[in-house]
């Protein structure tokens, strides 16, 4: 899975993130929480400014992840 380390960091930091910034977008690079932003676009822009072309993850901070709904069937893709 891509961004595995970032996913682990998100899970490890989730309780603190929920207390501080529920609903915001978190920028994670490796083991580091690099910032919290109001929009996805702000987090992405800052990610490229800080980490250039290195991998990073942007995710909305939420108790339960907001699932997406598609009424047409899709075959699963790699993650």
């Amino acid at each position: 899975m891509a961004l595995e380390r970032e996913q682990e960091t998100y899970q490890r930091e989730l309780a603190r993130l929920l207390a501080e910034a529920s609903g915001k977008y978190v920028l994670i690079h490796g083991n580091e929480v690099a910032g919290l932003y109001d929009t996805y676009q702000d987090a992405i822009r800052e990610g490229y400014l800080k980490f250039k072309l290195e991998p990073f993850m942007v995710k909305r901070v939420a108790v339960t992840e907001q699932a997406q709904y598609i009424t047409r069937d899709l075959a699963p893709c790699r993650t």
């Binding site: 676009q41 822009r45 072309l53 598609i70 009424t71 047409r72 899709l74 699963p76 993650t79």
Partner: protein
């Protein structure tokens, strides 16, 4: 208000959109002295039943989009356990009228979900995340639809 008016195809309200790496990634690549990958046109169904915009994994790979996260997806076949799909940072442009010279809409950085729609004769779905900014008219008897931004 910029708009397009297109005939409904046998697949429904389908348009050609352009997929590219996001503007922030373009700037980072240019700063690193790299050559930008080419943008790619893809055939997208305007789908009010999709909460997010999806693009075939093959198209995403061809354009060279980079994964920025994951998301959970419910479809008719996922049951109670949603599928986990990759989310990619992208730029999407929908060409407008006048031979596409003026874009209908242009999103410089947005999350798109990787899907596999290759058996459905389309490359992607324009979901409600993009339609949230638009006025969509589906005219059944006239066999056309229009999209305004």
């Amino acid at each position: 208000m910029p708009h397009v008016m297109l005939s409904n195809s046998s697949d429904g309200p389908v348009l050609e959109a352009v997929l590219w790496i996001s503007r922030p990634r373009q700037e980072a690549m240019l700063a690193a002295g790299l050559v930008l990958p080419k943008a790619m046109r893809f055939r997208a169904l305007v789908d009010t039943g999709a909460s997010c915009t999806c693009v075939n994994q093959e198209v995403i790979d061809a354009v060279g989009l980079i994964q920025s996260g994951t998301t959970q997806i419910h479809t008719p076949s996922t049951g109670n356990a949603p599928a986990v799909c990759g989310v990619y940072d992208a730029q999407i442009l929908v060409p407008g009228m006048q031979d596409g010279a003026v874009p209908l809409c242009h999103f410089e950085s947005l999350p798109v979900v990787a899907a596999n729609l290759s058996s459905q004769s389309i490359d992607g779905l324009i979901g409600r995340d993009l339609l949230a900014h638009a006025v969509l008219i589906y005219h059944g008897p006239g066999v056309f639809f229009s999209l305004s931004y």
